[in-house]
């Protein structure tokens, strides 16, 4: 019974909370800027306000809107699925399902801007693709190694694990992909150059933009939540404590990421993927060495 309650709370929170965390991030950023900054609920106020605006559909954007709805649904489903499957194993291959869903999500995400006939969104979209080709591809590779090393395909099996150096290195790489996926500086090159590209969703306004923002916040939550669970699973073996600890770790991570993003500048589309690739390959190589040395 208690498990049901916890999982319902977590599910509800993981949809409402990311937007509040975004407000926290803005507040943190403001502090680093030496500003007072907006109230913590500002991101929610923004979204509520957007929902109250009239709907203006950009020309030739039917595909984009459809994809956006698909994106939102998949994203919500993904976060619900993840939370539930931590406590109640749904299939033997929960982790694999989650990876698959995430890849679908990412594909939808990068195709939205490409369906909008606007130079800036196409530009942003093609940059996002360049980044995805490195980041999300490596996410799959890293998860592949994780499953290969441990033979684990669902959260329930995490209890069999104990922390080893090569797993920790792999998880570090996973956290980095999470940072990059969250579209923060220096890797917000798709949004990049507010003067020039003004972001992927430049043609969206009103409720559509509100839906997108909400989805984007949940996505940010997920890309921190998922690695946190895998990491904590090495140490915590009761599902309920694991999910609660995962939630708290995500919040802490969010704050840390916020600080990192505030003190860096934006990279460039020809620099970022190469830098990232180097980092990932080094980390993966290290973990392979560790695996064969059994440390």
């Amino acid at each position: 019974m208690i498990e049901h309650i916890v999982v319902s709370i977590i599910v509800v929170l993981s949809i409402i909370f990311p937007t509040i965390l975004d407000g926290v991030e803005r507040k943190i950023k403001a502090r680093i800027h030496s500003r007072i900054g907006p109230p913590i609920l500002q991101s929610w106020y923004d979204i509520i306000k957007l929902f109250g605006k009239e709907q203006v559909m950009p020309r030739n954007s039917l595909h984009a809107v459809m994809l956006l709805i698909l994106l939102t649904i998949t994203q919500v489903f993904l976060i619900v699925y993840t939370s539930v499957s931590i406590i109640f194993q749904i299939t033997q291959f929960d982790i694999v399902v989650i990876i698959a869903l995430f890849i679908i999500l990412q594909t939808i995400f990068i195709s939205i801007p490409l369906t909008i006939p606007n130079t800036f969104s196409v530009l942003g979209g093609s940059r996002e693709i360049a980044l995805t080709l490195v980041n999300e591809a490596l996410f799959i590779v890293i998860m592949g190694f994780f499953i290969y090393y441990t033979g684990i395909t669902s959260f329930k099996q995490l209890t069999q694990l104990s922390p080893t150096v090569y797993l920790l290195i792999l998880l570090l790489a996973l956290f980095i992909t999470g940072y990059v996926s969250s579209g923060r500086i220096p890797f917000d090159i798709a949004e990049a150059e507010p003067e020039l590209a003004s972001g992927l969703m430049i043609e969206f306004s009103g409720p559509i933009l509100g839906v997108f923002l909400l989805t984007f916040h949940i996505r940010r939550f997920f890309v921190k939540f998922f690695p946190s669970i895998l990491f904590l699973g090495l140490f915590i073996h009761t599902p309920i404590s694991l999910i609660i600890a995962g939630f708290i770790t995500t919040i802490i991570l969010w704050i840390i990421y916020a600080v990192i993003a505030a003190i860096l500048g934006r990279s460039r589309v020809d620099l970022a993927p190469i830098t990232l690739l180097k980092i990932y390959l080094v980390l993966i190589a290290l973990s392979i060495i560790g695996y064969y040395l059994k440390v």
Partner: protein
């Protein structure tokens, strides 16, 4: 710290504290006492001489002859650039500067200020000229003007011309 020198920004931010303010929710003085803001007229001092109107760079001040014996000195804040040149040139000190700058309004008439002057009447032709106040001011400053100040500039000129003509032996009807 070498390569990680950029982290020092956190120290800088810590030292600086929060510098923004909750304007306009908390009343605060935002400007120093040297700030130039809106100007104010002392209606009792202004004589309607128009010196400020001539000096004002963007035509924020205007003299308007209503044609009914009044002369208006009109100040339109919407054009004012708060240079205070008018204050420099006013002979009577009728204008003072304030530190007021929060002038936004949704009623444009708030942006006008008007000083009404009564025009002087020429004792000879009955035409309107200058203002009564200016007449008084001039007489007070240079009493000798009293003898001819009651006439408008045109009549004064005519009188002079006629006087000249007479002296030259011209015909005078």
């Amino acid at each position: 710290m070498g390569k990680l020198g950029f982290i020092k920004i956190l120290v800088i931010a810590g030292e600086a504290g929060r510098v923004t303010r909750r304007y306009p929710f908390k009343p605060e003085t935002l400007v120093s006492e040297d700030f130039r803001g809106r100007i104010e007229f002392d209606e009792t001092k202004c004589i309607g001489c128009g010196a400020c109107v001539n000096a004002c760079p963007p035509n924020a001040l205007e003299l308007v002859d209503k044609g009914d014996g009044t002369l208006l000195l009109k100040y339109f804040i919407g054009r004012c650039i708060f240079c205070w040149r008018c204050i420099d040139v006013c002979p009577t000190g009728a204008i003072t500067g304030t530190r007021d700058f929060e002038l936004a309004t949704n009623d444009v008439s708030d942006l006008y200020e008007v000083v009404v002057h009564e025009r002087a009447e020429c004792s000879e032709c009955g035409g309107k000229y200058s203002t009564i106040r200016q007449k008084e001011y001039v007489v007070e400053a240079v009493p000798i003007t009293e003898s001819y100040i009651d006439k408008c500039p045109d009549c004064r000129k005519n009188k002079l011309l006629r006087a000249l003509e007479r002296r030259r032996g011209g015909v005078y009807e």
